[in-house]
Structures are given as structure tokens and as C-alpha cells.
Symmetry: C2
């Protein structure tokens, strides 16, 4: 198997990232991979914010995974900066390969390098496999995640 590279996403990666976002039981209902315009606009917003890190995992010349790491300063916990992981997706061909672990380990190491003392993420209640995965990596399911659609 070819070597894996984890690097910052570029605009040319957007179609592959959107493909992975849509190839998912929840994503299938809320993504529109046939119209990339809103995604490219969002990519510009992401690129303009130095505290957002949209990453891709690349094997050979194929994008096989993605996640977004956001760095959030704050006052609580003695002025702790925390990171938030969002949008973790692994290409269907690579599931079970350990790539998810590699990506999350990358995010944890990067968070430490960026001065964060806490990494957090939320996972839909229905993604029970993901919950076991995060617990194996040391994450504690200590919170309830609430969402309000506007």
C-alpha cells in the first residue's frame, strides 16, 4: 500500500472531499455533490481563517480521508485553548484500514502543537461504531451535543 500523506486541503481537493461527505448515511441527505458552488465558496471562507485547518489524507494521488480542525481560544479552564474536530470522513475503500486512527492522531498531535489543552468533537447519536472508535482513542463521552438549525 502506498504511503499516506496528511496535508492541508487545496481547492482542487474540494470535489473529492464533497464526494466523501455525501457518501455517508447522514451526509447523503444533506449534501449536493452535483453543485460544488457552495462548497467552493465555503472553501474560500475556510482558507481566509488561520484558525481553521481543513486537512486531507492522500494515498498516491487519491484523497482518501478528510477532517477539519478548528482552534478556539477561551477563558474557561484557566484560559484554555481547545480544538474541535469536525467532518471526519474516510473513503469507503479505506474503512477499517486504520486511516481514521491516523487522522485523529494527527489532529491530536497538531492540537498539542497549536497550544490546545483539550480536543473535542461531537458525533451523531446514531453513529455507534464511531463512538467506540473515539473511546478507544481515549476520548470521554462526557457531554450531550445540542444543535439548533436556523
Amino acid at each position: 500500500m502506498e504511503d499516506l500523506e496528511i496535508r492541508a486541503a487545496v481547492a482542487g481537493d474540494v470535489p473529492a472531499i464533497v464526494g466523501m461527505l455525501a457518501d455517508d448515511p447522514l451526509g447523503a441527505q444533506r449534501e449536493s455533490p452535483d453543485d460544488l458552488t457552495p462548497y467552493l465558496t465555503a472553501f474560500e471562507r475556510l482558507s481566509a481563517d488561520p484558525h481553521q485547518h481543513l486537512m486531507v489524507a492522500v494515498r498516491g494521488d487519491r484523497v482518501v480521508g478528510t477532517l477539519q480542525l478548528s482552534v478556539i481560544p477561551g477563558l474557561s479552564r484557566r484560559g484554555a485553548t481547545r480544538s474541535i474536530i469536525e467532518g471526519v470522513r474516510i473513503h469507503a475503500d479505506e474503512r477499517g484500514s486504520g486511516l481514521g486512527t491516523r487522522l485523529i492522531e494527527w489532529a491530536v498531535d497538531a492540537s498539542r502543537d497549536l497550544g490546545c489543552v483539550l480536543v473535542q468533537l461531537t458525533s451523531d447519536r446514531t453513529r455507534t461504531d464511531a463512538h467506540r472508535f473515539y473511546e478507544r482513542l481515549g476520548f470521554e463521552p462526557s457531554h450531550i451535543g445540542f444543535k439548533l438549525r436556523l
Copy 2:
């Protein structure tokens, strides 16, 4: 009762904010209100990031509530920008006064004005009163929130 103002926090508000963070069953274990240095450093980091909104609710000349609103662009959900609410605290004298509702309604309105299509937050599993409060305001407890301390 005097009128309430919700405004961006300034450095002079930090002691009152830290006092509220520490006056809490969970915060009492992890804050250090006698040493404001790390909080003032964190306030500088917050102030330097235009996507962070640390707010205070002020009645008369007293800070009686606080929250932090973070704006996070992203690719998922058709390039949705979302907001995250963190660090919601209401002064002990004001609990049950409706101030929490006022603050969250402010955050929801501000999120909409900032182009967000989703507002999210996590709440410790032990804060069952807070869970009922967020559900009353329309938030859905659809996710599990995971944390990893570094």
C-alpha cells in the same frame, strides 16, 4: 429591575467573568480566580480573533452573565457556517430570572446575522437542568460530545 445590556466583553470584565466560571459545581474544580494572569492572556487571544465573540450581560454596572460565540466555516451541509456556544454562565443572583434565555436568544440571533445555518453547543452530562433549558429553546440533543484532555 434595571435594563440589561448584552455587549462584547472588555479586559475589565475578566475578573467578573472568571468569578462566574468558578462559581459552578464543575468550574470550582478547574478555575483559579485568585490568579487572573492566564485568563488575561487568553482574553488577548480571544480579542485577536474576529470569529470569537466573548459577550457579557450587564445590569446597571454589574456583569451578571457571559457566553462565548465562535463562528466556524466548513464544507459539510453544503458549505454551512456554524456557530458554537461555550462558557455560558449566569450570576448566582440572577438564576431563574430569564437571563439565560435572553443570552441564548442573543446568540441565536447573532449567529443568524453572521451567516450561520446551525448553532451548536455541548453540555456536561451532569447538567440535567441545562439540558431541559436548551431543549425548551429548540435545541435537539442529537449528538454525543467527546473530550480528550492533552
